[in-house]
Subunit: 273 residues, 2 copies
């Protein structure tokens, strides 16, 4: 994330108050390359995975089979960079603040604009993300320590396996938020309303039961602080498909950089029908 | 449906009481080719669409973009007739009572076994169906006239358009169930719990508002009787993807025959994750 850059931090504060057209232009022009938490409030944000068409059918199946970690909210037509179902003018080549480029499963660089990399055989998949349900939790008065402390949520590999599809396979990755038991119950009920954004938790309590040996050493994100009266609450996490892509090793895969999501035009409640 | 055949009707009554292994064997052997309403209670049933891989990515997108009429519950691997995510031993070539064969969008025959037609490039899509939520409605005491009268639910083309994907496009088709207003509200709440089976209604009340000129002349199914104290309640319907397939005119498409669904091994609540 670029929010440690002082200039970006100033811009970030501006964008938090800005109308969406300003936000989109700042991202599209490359002026803002930072994270999108707290920007474009009320709009659905999404994880991104762009893959060659040869891999698209299997990745589609992977998402269908693993809807909690991989809740699809939009898929482009092959070769078409415009995401017609998520807005009137969303160009997936430029409307994400920062992109990660993976070649053969390995990170090979970052860029704020993938216009030069776009090809006629690419398919863009947009997956719901936890920003959606975190907004809902905070709106209902549930405090989230990692946000208040400006940290990255703790994420862990589990021993729960995804249902494989072609070359896509691997463990379910979870994010963890500490809560008091009454909050954890309310949080389960609230997040169940957002199946397009990971839905209800997949586990509450004993980390060892899902193969996490030590909460203090997350695989991604910052170590969490768990108070004596708190239990760990685990949600399926959008890092799951990224791990599956690294397993599949497609010649090219383009994702959002961590935290730098696509902000869509559709409401947080999800693309209706 | 073959339930007008006296032999099938006797078998149907037997199968209503039978354990699932008996039901599956009766279907797999071709002995039972009738409808599956009321059989295999508690298990998720699904509509079927089998398409060549050339069409699979667009059909997948069509379902993703139109989740209320086309709620995907399972997708086979290309060329693999076993639906591993919906049961331990579901062979999509034989486990549907009766199949419709479409060539270039036109019905070209029916058969209880498609083993001879199976090819290495075929992909099977299973979509949730209204049987699931109808069971839930009846379990909560909401009476469904078409079931009590052994009729087919009334279905209508609407002026609501699906979101197209490649060659797949066309109107949203709805099914209609008459209810008193308090029931319609309860029914909306109950069916919202089944997003994998068309979910909440898409319309209640005035048929003309969604382009239905006359409830007495449905496009499919039997004419309904609407009492003075009832309102029409409309759900997105699994005929929608069939209409889209007829529009797309793929060289081959195999579906279930109307009412003769795939009975899966997963619970009615849907394939969990």
């Amino acid at each position: 994330m670029n929010t440690t850059d002082p200039i970006s931090n100033t811009l970030f504060e501006d964008l938090r108050q800005a109308p969406m057209a300003t936000v989109r232009e700042a991202i599209r022009s490359g002026a803002y390359q930072g994270h999108t938490a707290g920007i474009g409030l009320g709009r659905l944000q999404g994880n991104l995975a762009i893959l060659p068409a040869d891999y698209a059918l299997d990745f589609f199946r992977f998402c269908q089979r693993n809807p909690k970690p991989c809740p699809l909210v939009g898929v482009s037509d092959t070769g078409d960079p415009m995401l017609h179902t998520l807005g009137d003018d969303i160009d997936i080549r430029r409307d994400v603040p920062l992109y990660n480029i993976y070649r053969d499963g390995q990170l090979d660089g970052q860029t704020p604009d993938i216009t030069d990399l776009w090809r006629d055989d690419l398919v863009a998949f947009v997956l719901g993300c936890s920003f959606t349900f975190e907004q809902a939790l905070m709106a209902e008065g549930i405090r989230l320590a990692h946000i208040e402390e400006n940290k990255t949520v703790a994420m862990y590999r589990t021993t729960i396996q995804t249902q494989a599809a072609g070359p896509f396979r691997g463990p379910v990755v979870v994010s963890m938020r500490p809560m008091r038991p009454p909050e954890s119950i309310r949080a389960a009920v609230i997040t169940a309303r957002f199946p397009h954004a990971h839905g209800a938790p997949i586990h509450i309590g004993d980390p060892a039961a899902i193969g996490i040996p030590n909460l203090a050493t997350p695989d991604w994100g910052d170590p969490p602080a768990l108070a004596d009266d708190q239990v760990p609450v685990f949600w399926a996490c959008g890092v799951t498909p990224q791990a599956a892509v690294q397993e599949a090793k497609p010649p090219l895969c383009i994702t959002h950089a961590p935290g730098a999501m696509l902000i869509t035009d559709v409401p947080e409640q999800g693309p209706g029908n």
